[in-house]
């Protein structure tokens, strides 16, 4: 699983940091997404998929 994020698109809603806190965090200065792990283990697949689906700005891309 390969994850990428677009900090420019991000609108800092925070869904990703709740759905998969091992993979996503929020930047202190403006809450924009921070990718902690671009190659998360398969065990985190559901959380990452949820983060990607919930993201209102389509800022998270996931490749298998």
């Amino acid at each position: 699983m390969k994850v990428s994020v677009d900090q420019e698109k991000c609108c800092a809603a925070g869904h990703c940091a709740l759905a998969a806190p091992e993979v996503f965090d929020q930047r202190e200065e403006d809450g924009a997404v921070v990718l902690l792990d671009p190659r998360p283990p398969l065990a985190l697949r559901d959380g990452v998929a949820e983060a990607s689906f919930l993201c209102p700005a389509a800022a998270i891309a996931v490749e298998d």
């Binding site: 925070g14 403006d30 700005a57």
Partner: protein, 400 residues
């Protein structure tokens, strides 16, 4: 061929027999065509979007503009907000993103979690007084309304001395049943109030959101003085009545579903999911969210020509079959969080994390401290606000 007789009027009202469900007419529309024309009070015929996937498609697509000055934008009331009062929700990127980014730091998961003790303190203070005075009480006036306004007041740095005036001013602006003149006057009072608050912060900045906005943005040229006032106004209004209505309506709904209430009491860990299910089920933003097609776009098999307006009805989208047994309240619903009660796209509610935490704390504490809470009147006697922009209830008489 003119088939205007088939175009339904918008908005329809919730059925009094079923106040927590969207108007039944939207259900029919969604099943027939999730994107269809409706007629507004001013004769305009924008498209109404009632389906979940279609709503996400529109709200998540930058080809649909949120610009409130666009002439194709659906108008829900006769009242026109003066041009100098900008609204973050009625602007497009990149200017919208630039200003939103100035605020998002204050609403992150981490910052909001850190506010839990402050919010818990306000909730306990309100319930202490309620309990000391004894039943009956009005859950709206005595609990649901003061909580979010006290929280946003702390965040913005409203002084205790100013609090009553602040609350009066913001209530005046949220009453959409008043005349155009009254609305204009109420808005004027609010703008005056916020302008004075900004002047005070400018003279003596504190450690609050408004002071940060003035020091970091206004004084560096990022925002004009007028824009700071407008931004503060948006935060005040957006976070106040909405959260209050959700607290009051959620309490009523839980009391009407004793089996769900028992489940929640038995498993307090269910609360975060329960709050999202309540947000999905109730979806107070009932009037609709407006957009305008900036170019020709197809949505749900319907061609939307450039310049045409759209209304996205969130309550209807949240009862789409995307949610299994969508009309059932299920506090353990696995995909409750997928609701779009806070909207979708780059305009999705800035304060949603704060709203969730306020609701979690308010409901958890209410149920724990008043285990025998009950409605004092039958459901039919509650004054639900069917016609207001945001669904609500005027009074909730309770005893315990």
């Amino acid at each position: 061929m003119d088939r205007t007789d088939e175009i339904r009027d918008y908005p329809e009202l919730r059925a009094a027999a079923c106040p927590f469900s969207p108007p039944p007419g939207y259900e029919e529309l969604r099943e027939r065509s999730a994107v269809t024309r409706v007629r507004m009070w001013d004769g305009s015929t924008p498209f109404l979007v009632t389906g979940y996937h279609e709503a996400r498609a529109v709200l998540g697509d930058s080809r649909f503009s949120a610009d409130g000055t666009h002439k194709g934008m659906p108008r829900f009331t006769k009242f026109e907000v003066p041009a100098e009062v900008f609204n973050l929700g009625r602007m497009d990127d990149p200017e919208h993103a630039r200003i939103r980014r100035m605020l998002t730091a204050h609403f992150t998961i981490r910052r909001t979690e850190a506010m839990r003790p402050m919010i818990q303190g306000i909730v306990d203070g309100l319930l202490d007084r309620l309990i000391a005075e004894g039943p009956p009480a009005d859950l709206v006036a005595d609990f649901a309304f003061p909580l979010p306004s006290q929280v946003i007041a702390v965040m913005l740095g409203v002084s205790d001395a100013d609090f009553a005036e602040f609350q009066r001013a913001s209530q005046g602006v949220m009453d959409f049943t008043v005349s155009t003149e009254e609305m204009g006057a109420a808005l004027g009072v609010m703008v005056d109030y916020v302008s004075r608050m900004c002047a005070a912060k400018r003279a003596a900045p504190g450690d609050d959101l408004l002071s940060r906005l003035i020091v970091d943005q206004e004084l560096t040229g990022g925002l004009t003085q007028q824009q700071v006032v407008a931004t503060a106004l948006v935060l005040l209004l957006a976070g106040h009545e909405t959260t209050a209505n959700m607290i009051a309506l959620s309490s009523v709904l839980l009391l009407r579903h004793p089996e769900q209430l028992a489940r929640l009491r038995a498993d307090p860990g269910l609360m975060p999911n329960a709050v999202d299910e309540l947000l999905r089920y109730i979806t107070i933003v009932q009037e609709g969210t407006g957009r305008v097609a900036a170019e020709d776009v197809e949505v749900g098999g319907v061609q939307i020509p450039a310049g045409e307006g759209l209304i996205i009805n969130l309550p209807s989208a949240n009862r789409d079959p995307h949610f299994a047994d969508a009309h059932e309240l299920d506090l353990g619903r696995p995909n409750a969080r997928e609701h779009i009660g806070f909207g979708f796209g780059v305009h999705q509610c800035l304060g949603q994390t704060l709203a969730r935490v306020e609701l979690q704390i308010a409901l958890e504490t209410l149920l724990r401290r008043l285990p025998a809470l009950r409605l004092e009147v039958p459901l039919d006697d509650l004054a639900f606000l069917y016609e207001s922009m945001n669904f609500g209830v005027a009074r909730v008489p309770v005893a315990w």
